[in-house]
């Protein structure tokens, strides 16, 4: 039987380096929340289904509940705090607000990151592609129509910008 050990880690989160000690069994989600204090990453199901814990790993949406923090060394991690300006809201966040695309907000960080990655990857994503990308993020209150509307509007805004 293995004995719990703490291992020194270096994580790159939102462009900043964090030195910390973690047990190999700690998920990236828990370390982001409890060691680094970035509580915007939410933990719902711990089995990859709900998408609340989605972060970007080298720019790509990844479940932080299905990855151990120790594995994230050498990668760039972006959480919802990393896509939020110090003052005010990002254009995508603004669009979520004006389209009423959130209620309790539990799902929102994962959805924002997935949508940011989609629009970066495919700036002309159509509604079907947006729905496919967001199919891995469950929302229990808002209904998906407003969320899709918000992403479509943000896409238009980026195109005009």
């Amino acid at each position: 039987m293995a004995v719990e050990q703490r291992i020194g880690l270096t994580l790159w989160v939102n462009g900043k380096e964090h030195l910390l000690e973690a047990s190999p069994r700690w998920s990236l989600a828990d370390v982001l929340r409890h060691q680094i204090g970035l509580t915007g990453t939410h933990v719902g199901c711990e089995q990859g289904v709900c998408g609340a814990c989605t972060v970007l790993l080298d720019g790509q949406p990844t479940r932080s509940c299905l990855m151990f923090a120790i594995q994230a060394q050498g990668h760039e991690i972006t959480t919802v705090e990393g896509v939020t300006p110090t003052e005010g809201l990002s254009p995508l966040q603004q669009s979520f607000q004006s389209h009423h695309a959130l209620q309790c907000g539990f799902c929102t960080p994962g959805i924002l990151l997935t949508a940011e990655a989609l629009l970066a990857d495919n700036p002309t994503a159509d509604e079907e592609e947006i729905r496919a990308a967001l199919s891995g993020n469950l929302c229990r209150c808002t209904g998906y129509q407003f969320i899709v509307d918000a992403v479509l509007a943000a896409r238009e805004q980026r195109r005009d910008a």
Partner: protein
């Protein structure tokens, strides 16, 4: 919940990985994409004493053209199967089928080798590999071993992989004609309730079903007909031969429709 305590070993070469598995004598598990293993660990349905993380083995990801087949590294992520231009051109059915696996974030991490080792009976890739008669290539301290997919998969989450073996590569022969594919799932990204691949032969063909019973089954179709009623009758007979647990009995009818649509897809009808 949170996983039980384990020791973590990150390896830099295949030899190191094989050596680590041997050293821990069955206590260790390979950690690839973690998209099946980590949920099981989070719920303590799996409690490996040691994880051997093979995510740094870049040499185990990628594609080689063998002329008659593609050899794809076991660490190739599902989304890489979907996006890779070379695979899209040479074996278009593979990216198409891989795009049905879970969601984007799951595909960004999950690997071909992990899907094969995990052997979920409703998983798309084991079914495709069975349909295309792919070869699973494994390495252990005893050297290399190769097995046809249909011999490799045994049943529910069980395969011929030994505890000290690592899947290195999968060789997928180019099919004579592109197979058709269809699946039904309750929500986008879910594991298939029932799925099928259909390959058209010179007279008959083959249907490979998945999500039915413990493993994908490739069955010979005595004739290939475009006539809707005759097709259903043939498929009903074939589906009748499937060995299903009683709680999956209802799926036999779905299997007939799904295989019919896979056949239509093979004809370019979908």
């Amino acid at each position: 919940m949170k996983p039980a305590v384990f020791d973590y070993v990150r390896v830099n070469s295949l030899d190191e990985a094989i050596e680590a598995l041997a050293r821990y004598e069955g206590e260790a598990k390979v950690l690839a994409g973690g998209q099946s293993l980590v949920p099981l660990m989070n719920f303590r349905l799996s409690r490996p004493g040691v994880l051997v993380d093979i995510n740094d083995l870049a040499e185990m990801a990628g594609v080689r053209d063998l002329g008659h087949a593609l050899a794809i590294g076991s660490m190739t992520r599902h989304q890489q199967l979907v996006n890779n231009d070379f695979i899209r051109e040479r074996l278009p059915i593979l990216p198409r089928v891989a795009s049905y696996i879970g969601h984007w974030a799951i595909r960004n991490r999950g690997t071909l080798g992990g899907s094969v080792a995990h052997a979920d009976p409703a998983a798309e890739l084991p079914a495709l590999l069975t349909a295309l008669q792919a070869t699973i290539v494994m390495r252990s301290p005893r050297g290399e071993r190769r097995l046809l997919a249909e011999r490799f998969f045994l049943g529910y989450y069980s395969t011929r992989l030994d505890w000290d073996e690592i899947i290195t590569e999968i060789e997928i022969p180019f099919p004579a004609s592109s197979p058709g594919f269809y699946e039904v799932a309750r929500r986008a990204g879910d594991f298939a309730l029932v799925g099928a691949l259909a390959e058209r032969g010179t007279s008959g063909g083959f249907v490979t079903w998945f999500g039915l019973g413990g493993r994908p089954e490739r069955m010979a179709l005595p004739a290939w007909t475009a006539h809707e009623e005759e097709r259903r009758q043939l498929l009903r007979e074939l589906a009748g031969k499937l060995d299903l647990p009683s709680e999956e009995e209802y799926k036999r009818t779905i299997a007939v429709s799904v295989a019919g649509r896979a056949m239509a897809d093979a004809e370019g009808g979908n």
